[in-house]
């Protein structure tokens, strides 16, 4: 169990304690306020250097991380990997070594291969590695921002600030995660975060999109999606890659909508006050009916907004900690 990410790399939310996750959420709360200021910048990481290495392009996540680093006054080195030496046959190890030689404190990386961030951490033990999504493994900052957004919205309803509630709002909270669980790094990080915080998590998916090891997950599998809709306080939808809906995993996108889409009819069965989430980009009309996505219950824009403060919190805690190796 990891009790704090301070001074550490952030590769996965597995094995994170409730305290570790709560610390990130509380820190992010401070940065939400910073982001509301006229001058959205603090000098916390002045003189530090953060490299962003996106081996798989994701403009949204990359911009969010880079904005976060800049608002902390860090210098950002952004390597457009797709057009760089990786194409010329340079190995991951050599690319990282080159970046490290520029004197960096942290590297934010996205890669299509599961485990790539963990490998890079092994290559550069003195640099903090922040996983911005690796294959089908983990997307830790997405899991953190999802949990943060839920807490923020629920706390607002009580008229308090999220950081005043710790993890208490997750106790007894019913979270339903729906869709392509098998191939989703977001699902793996979300489940880890929600379960660590004390929520009760169920998953719903067609048989081909459930992970093969689902029995080992700390969740239960929903047999009747329509019933589970009535149970949920939070419905987390996942993106369905179109190619998986062509008969390879699911007979058609339409059939996926029929069995697991959050249609207008299903949305009407939601508890009042239930929240609808999606990590984006959404396939309107597939995972979620377009009208449902525009309901007040759909807090998708809040998720996007919280990307920057969560990533500020992660960068801040990971970089401004005791030097690596000093923390037990």
């Amino acid at each position: 169990m990891i009790d704090s990410i301070r001074g550490c790399s952030l590769l996965t939310l597995n094995d994170m304690s409730c305290a570790a996750i709560t610390e990130v959420l509380d820190t992010a709360e401070s940065f939400v306020e910073v982001n509301r200021r006229a001058i959205k910048k603090v000098p916390a990481l002045k003189g530090r250097v953060v490299a962003s290495l996106f081996f798989e392009e994701s403009t949204r996540t990359r911009l969010s991380f880079e904005a976060a680093a800049k608002r902390l006054s860090a210098d950002v080195l952004s390597l457009a990997v797709a057009s760089s030496s990786m194409k010329k046959g340079e190995s991951l190890r050599d690319t990282i070594a080159t970046i490290e030689a520029l004197g960096i404190d942290a590297v934010v990386m996205r890669h299509k291969s599961s485990g790539a961030a963990a490998q890079v951490e092994g290559f550069v033990p003195n640099v903090r590695v922040i996983n911005a999504g690796d294959g089908q493994h983990q997307h830790p900052t997405q899991g953190l921002l999802d949990a943060f957004t839920v807490r923020q919205v629920l706390a607002e309803r009580l008229g308090v600030i999220g950081s005043e509630t710790g993890s208490s709002l997750f106790e007894g909270l019913n979270v339903l995660i729906v869709g392509d669980i098998r191939h989703s790094r977001v699902a793996r990080s979300d489940v880890a975060a929600y379960v660590a915080l004390g929520a009760s998590v169920r998953v719903a998916a067609p048989g081909t999109l459930l992970p093969v090891d689902i029995d080992a997950w700390p969740v239960s599998v929903v047999e009747d999606f329509d019933e589970a809709i009535e149970w949920a306080d939070v419905v987390g939808l996942l993106r369905l890659q179109h190619e998986r809906g062509t008969g390879s995993f699911v007979p058609s996108l339409g059939e996926f909508t029929f069995t697991h889409g959050l249609t207008w009819e299903r949305a009407r069965r939601l508890k009042s006050g239930a929240l609808i989430m999606h990590p984006g980009p959404m396939n309107r009309g597939v995972e979620v009916d377009s009208r449902v996505a525009d309901l007040d219950a759909a807090i998708i824009n809040r998720q996007v907004e919280n990307g920057v403060p969560i990533r500020m919190a992660v960068l801040y805690l990971c970089i401004v900690g005791a030097a690596k190796g000093e923390v037990q």
Binding site: N14, S91, L92, R93, H111, S113, S114, G115, A116, A118, Q119, G122, F123, D134, G135, Q136, H137, Q138, R185, R188, P211, V212, D213, I214, D215, A216, W217
Partner: protein
């Protein structure tokens, strides 16, 4: 060639092991006695506390030559084999180009003959190992090839496999299969299960292997041809092969050192050195393989020695090539899997020498190609392929101190019990005091 005297070891023989000395001269075991008199100029090997047995025979070595010499070549592979106690290696045909014709087979045999060991060749079953058209097995058999395999891949098409078995049967050769249905394996990179699910890696399920084992056993039943199952990794695979043999089918099987000493949890850190096909399985499979090895239902330990250049093992897990080194540590790992102190020296040499020599038809040797007899007892008149194994030696794997050109061992830092002290290949002392002479 000077004489060699092995002093005071346990001379392992089926008829009854005994303590004593062994005199080797002119490529044969000349004398086995309580004490032999060393001829002038003889090299003396202290075998006190050691087992003296037949040199080890590897059914499954990827020597990478031709085509991937940066990872290994025949010469470096033979050195690695000698350090590991091997006196004979069967070179796998998945080179570039594949060993699917007599010219390439002759090349490897010729290169092998320059090493101190016997280097036999396994030819490809299909042209280019592409699984479509039969390779010229009869021509290769005329060069002494006795094993054929498309290893790296199994022959996916059942009709091609049936024809290959039908064609091989009258040639008196054995087909060896890498059993994994690539459709079911789905491009996966580790065992499918709890660990792959957590790591987000696509799994190669046990069933991908078992389906092909099942299919091929039925094809053997149909054709009556001899078949050897390479690197079985699951309890079910072994059970099926054992049941088939009990019904009289001419089948044999091997396991690798890694499948009997490592399980899927090793992959948890995404270290591609633990990536191998078939993948490391679960602990219950490891236990079943160990049991099968001890009770003799599994014929052989074969290394599947698969060198890869370091930069390839720095790739992400799903992109890195599968395979790990085996030759230099196989004896100690097999000893561990056989129960260390409980390990019978007879079983040890059965699975590492006698049975592999029988399966590869290397027992008699083949003078035409300079092959000596392998896998015999240490008795007077046998070919002088002998290993001295110290079952009490504790040592640590160090990937910077390997004979192989590659360093992709998953055992770096692991403490091993049991070490090859000396290797005598074709009458020559090639390893002494655990270093190359």
């Amino acid at each position: 060639m000077s004489a060699i005297v092995l002093r005071h070891g346990l001379i392992v023989a089926r008829a009854g092991s005994r303590l004593g000395d062994v005199l080797i001269r002119d490529g044969v075991i000349e004398q086995v006695a309580d004490q032999v008199e060393a001829p002038p100029g003889a090299q003396e090997v202290d075998a006190e506390g050691c087992w003296i047995g037949p040199g080890l025979v590897d059914l499954h070595t990827h020597l990478r030559e031709p085509g991937r010499e940066q990872a290994e070549d025949i010469e470096s592979g033979a050195r690695a084999g000698a350090i590991g106690g091997y006196t004979a290696l069967v070179a796998m045909p998945n080179t570039e180009p594949a060993l699917d014709n007599v010219a390439l087979v002759a090349y490897v045999l010729e290169r092998g003959s320059r090493t101190p060991l016997d280097v036999a060749v396994a030819g490809a079953i299909t042209r280019g190992r592409e699984g479509q058209f039969l390779a010229p097995m009869a021509e290769m058999a005329a060069l002494g090839v006795r094993l054929f395999t498309d290893d790296g891949l199994g022959v996916q098409d059942p009709l091609v496999m049936r024809r290959a078995l039908e064609y091989a049967k009258p040639l008196g050769v054995t087909l060896a299969q890498h059993c994994e249905d690539e459709k079911l394996a789905n491009g996966g990179s580790m065992n499918e299960g709890a660990v792959s699910g957590r790591l987000g890696l696509i799994g190669r399920p046990a069933v991908a292997e078992e389906v092909m084992v099942m299919r091929d056993l039925e094809l053997v039943r149909l054709t009556g041809a001899r078949m050897h199952f390479l690197h079985l990794s699951t309890a079910r695979s072994v059970a099926m092969v054992v049941a088939a043999r009990r019904m009289g089918l001419p089948v044999t099987c091997e396991v690798t050192p890694h499948h009997i000493t490592l399980d899927e949890v090793s992959c948890s850190n995404f270290d591609p050195r633990f990536k191998v096909h078939p993948p490391l399985r679960v602990l219950s499979d490891v236990a079943a393989l160990r049991q099968g090895l001890r009770d003799g239902t599994i014929d052989a330990v074969a290394t599947d020695h698969a060198p890869h250049a370091p930069e390839l093992k720095d790739l992400p897990f799903d992109e890195a090539p599968a395979g790990m080194l085996g030759l230099e540590h196989a004896a100690a790992l097999a000893y561990e899997a056989l129960g260390s102190e409980e390990c019978s020296p007879i079983t040890f040499f059965d699975v590492l020498s006698r049975n592999p020599a029988r399966i590869a038809q290397l027992r008699q040797g083949d003078r035409r190609f300079g092959m000596s007899g392998q896998g015999g007892d240490v008795v007077e008149g046998e070919s002088a392929n002998v290993v001295v194994f110290d079952p009490d030696s504790r040592w640590r794997v160090d990937r910077t101190a390997l004979q192989s050109r590659s360093i992709n061992t998953p055992y770096h830092g692991r403490e091993l019990l049991g070490r090859v002290r000396s290797t005598i290949a074709k009458g020559r002392l090639v390893v002494d005091e655990s270093v190359l002479v």
